[in-house]
């Protein structure tokens, strides 16, 4: 007999499959109009997408660290963080990521870097002050799970269509409605079909992007808790961080905004911390409930 908790797990996996298929369809819709103009235009569109994505893969990790004002720390400076990360590497077989600390009171953490050898895990000083070792480990395990699942890449690819849509809409509306010369307005008119496409696809892309983000959070929660074997610490850390965020003054929350503003920067804010990003993350109650399911699995000795 298969207990109910396993079937629910399968539910998550099949929803991940569904969103991945939808994402592929979305990319198809993005380039199809260009192919209808001519094959050359179509190939040019594919190449442009590839170049833009590659640029993001390459530079985004540093942009994320810069946006959060984070500093890479050595093992001598932060032996505890490095020790915890190294043991998680032992358990997971993942290469050791760089470790960074952001000097912010808001408890938060994120992983960035698309390539395995450029990966970085960052925690804020506020997080370190508030969590005990087991809870800190659970947060790091969650971020390592994002790295294991290559969620930085997933987030970049998932966020890209929405990013393009937003870019096209703002650029063309700027050309049309701005103070510019006639030539600029003419260019705006020529580009109108692209706006139509963007307006059509933008909301769809954004919804899909958010759905993927929420699923990947649940996946990372599960993998992280299975990695440490201590889902109770994960729940405790989540609950603590959220309580802290709700009581934090708005001015402090604003410190985290740069990260949020960089729409396609593939920084995975574990934004359980960030009120602005709430829609990218499932509600805490859902996450804690799912962690309880992991507890039950561990208690029964089955994996």
């Amino acid at each position: 007999m298969v207990p109910a908790r396993y079937s629910r797990e399968r539910g998550l996996t099949s929803r991940v499959v569904l969103t991945m298929v939808l994402l592929a369809v979305l990319y198809g819709l993005l380039v199809t109009p260009f192919f209808q103009v001519s094959t050359l235009w179509g190939l040019a569109a594919v190449a442009a997408v590839a170049v833009l994505l590659t640029a993001q893969f390459r530079y985004a990790d540093n942009v994320a660290l810069w946006a959060m004002d984070a500093r890479e720390v050595s093992a001598a400076e932060e032996p505890e963080l490095h020790g915890l990360v190294e043991r998680l590497c032992m358990s997971s077989g993942l290469p050791k990521p760089r470790v960074a600390v952001a000097d912010t009171e808001i408890p938060n953490a994120f992983a960035a870097g698309c390539r395995r050898d450029r990966a970085v895990v960052c925690v804020t000083t506020g997080l370190r002050e508030r969590l005990d070792v087991a809870e800190l480990e659970s947060v790091l395990a969650h971020e390592m799970a994002h790295l294991a699942h290559r969620d930085v890449v997933v987030a970049t690819i998932a966020g890209f269509p929405a990013f393009c849509g937003g870019l096209i809409i703002t650029t063309v509306s700027g050309l049309l409605l701005g103070e510019g010369r006639l030539a600029a307005r003419l260019a705006g008119v020529v580009l109108l079909p692209m706006v139509a496409l963007a307006v059509l696809l933008f909301p769809l892309s954004q919804l899909l992007n958010l759905a993927i983000s929420r699923q990947r959070e649940l996946c990372a929660d599960r993998t992280g808790a299975l990695l440490t074997g201590r889902p109770a610490a994960s729940s405790a850390a989540l609950t603590k961080i959220c309580a802290e965020i709700e009581s934090a003054p708005t001015a402090e929350l604003r410190e985290l905004r740069p990260l949020n503003g960089l729409l396609t920067v593939p920084a995975r804010a574990t934004g359980r911390a960030v009120a602005d990003l709430v829609s990218t993350h499932p509600p805490v109650e859902v996450r804690v409930r799912r962690l309880t399911e992991v507890s039950q699995r561990l208690a029964s000795g089955r994996r």
Partner: protein, 193 residues
Amino acid sequence: MPSFGDVVLGRARPADPDLDAIFGLVPAAAALEAMTGFVPSGLGSVCFRTVDGGVFDAFAQVQRELRRLVATEPGATAEYSTDAYGCGWVLTRHPQGALERVVNDLHAVNATFDEGGFGPYLLCSLTGFARPDGRRLALVYTHVSGTFYPFAPAAGGGRDDALEDQATEAVGADLPFERDRARWFPLWDAPAI
């Protein structure tokens, strides 16, 4: 490392350990002694994650079996401890040079975890080595990657890179060895060193 499918589906899982490679230590120790003068110190330890659960849960069952197992071994003493990271350690003590008994103990401990379904929560098994001049060395076996690496704390703090290199040269060919130095994770407070 998770497979491509598991990456896409976001369900990387803790990997199952490779337990038998640890028996390779016995012939390798002879080569180590010949080349560097290090002999087995008779100490060995296993580091594991302490999994959540109550006294009647599966993990508690594994720990009970472990205690029974180690207690019935004549002449051996085992010690349990928890380190600063919340990981558990089992330390086994034998007379100097009794490497085979140390390795058997380590394997028995590992097998107990594995049979209980907690193999992925084994972090590493350490075997201690010592030299008459007081120097210490450990060969660390990481279960998930199935490889060994040397760890030698230097007398004045830090690691003794030269000694670790010598040890690698001596046994690197006989054992599945970790070639990536970035994965030679230090274990400063390991009880078997």
